[in-house]
Symmetry: C2
DNA sequence: CCTCTGCTAATCAAACTTGACTACTCAGGC
DNA sequence: GCCTGAGTAGTCAAGTTTGATTAGCAGAGG
């Protein structure tokens, strides 16, 4: 699974109603074009495709207010919202070492209730552990790792990466449990840029108040 | 860049001459179908495409020895070899957090001379360092990281991942410098599975003798 | 001796991704 | 008044990826 659907659904949902260029700008603001395949072509394709599949509702709109061709606006449907949360939960839960999906999921994690976020992340840890022991047990041949030669370095890399990610995930869980960030149902959601006078988001036991961009 | 071209070129090169099914089997043996897009369709497509581009030479061959449709054999050309080493060097040098390309590159690293491998990996470390400071300096707004809210966690993840990779890369460099594995021009290359009685490949100062699979 | 299963080897349509390109408008300079 | 450059909004062809499907032959079992 690529990250594009999650990103586009999430962006449209945050706006309530958005046209392609808006989504594109949003994702650029996120830096998503650098760490995922959220390039213009893919974004427009995803919008059309998901509209065809009933995840988005299409609104033909006036020939644009400020130059350029007429634009189409999109709105997320019931089915789209379901799909969005399905993708989000899956991205948070499953360990598949795709950086783009993972990053996108973190960007949207606050759309879930705090308790669920924690529990999904714990499931993720569990998945990493399982994957780790599957690799060490199954991929190391009975006769010891020396059978593998330099190929063993690939496994070594995987294990190293998995361990690093587990560590990071544990840290994130701890920060969330200590009250960092604003989750679903906890007041003004955080979108984009915060107002002045906020605490370090990595510090413990704090609260954010956001302002809609 | 996806890993498929590097994988396919490398596999064909190791065989001297190979048909698609053989390449497919090789990559499956590597586990590449699990950590990259080396699925049948992509492999056959890559073979045809690279043949069209002159990186591979196509040989129409007899209707197969053991069932199935007639098969086409491929052989790497001069241009293909150049492209192979270009891809390999690039994959080793540049930090782009694509696990598949990186894994593939490690699998083929011994096709380079030992000294070059070390120097490319050092360049990689350098790239990671640069990327790291670009992120910390450029992506943290002037007014401090608290501006970012939970979005800061994405950066946090990146930094964490980059650090883990730098650590792993330094370890690999150290092992190679201590004499691990058999590199280009150092005798029988390692391919696939080793003969009995070998040392731990992670141990220092040892030598492998391989046997062609 | 006939059918079923599994292996060999590959193809194909549908979906997705990429990078280049189109087309339109407005503000400001000449 | 007209031209240029920057920004807006999106399309398109070429290439890539995916998952399903095709098709031939061998050996096992009935």
């Amino acid at each position: 699974m690529s990250a594009i659907r999650l990103l586009v659904l999430g962006a449209v949902r945050q706006h309530g109603r958005a046209h392609g260029y808006q989504v594109r700008g949003d994702l650029e603001y996120w830096g998503a074009h650098e760490w995922s395949n959220a390039k213009p072509g893919s974004i427009y394709h995803a919008l059309k495709q998901m509209a065809k599949q009933g995840l988005l509702r299409e609104h033909e709109t006036a020939p644009s207010t400020a130059g350029g061709p007429p634009r189409t606006e999109y709105e997320i449907t019931e089915a789209g919202t379901e799909e969005y949360f399905r993708l989000l939960r899956e991205a948070l839960t499953s360990y598949d070492q795709k950086t783009d999906v993972k990053s996108a999921a973190i960007g949207f994690v606050v759309d879930l209730p705090r308790a669920e976020a924690v529990s999904l992340l714990k499931e993720r840890i569990h998945g990493i552990d399982e994957w780790r022991s599957a690799v060490t047990e199954h991929y190391v041949p009975e006769d010891g790792p020396e059978q593998l030669g330099h190929i063993g370095e690939i496994m070594n890399l995987w294990i190293h990466t998995a361990d690093a990610e587990a560590t990071w995930t544990r840290g994130l869980i701890a920060r969330i449990e200590r009250g960092a960030y604003t989750f679903a149902g906890e007041g003004e959601p955080f979108v984009g840029i915060l107002a002045e006078g906020e605490e370090n988001p990595y510090a413990t036991d704090e609260r954010h108040s956001g302002d809609a961009r």
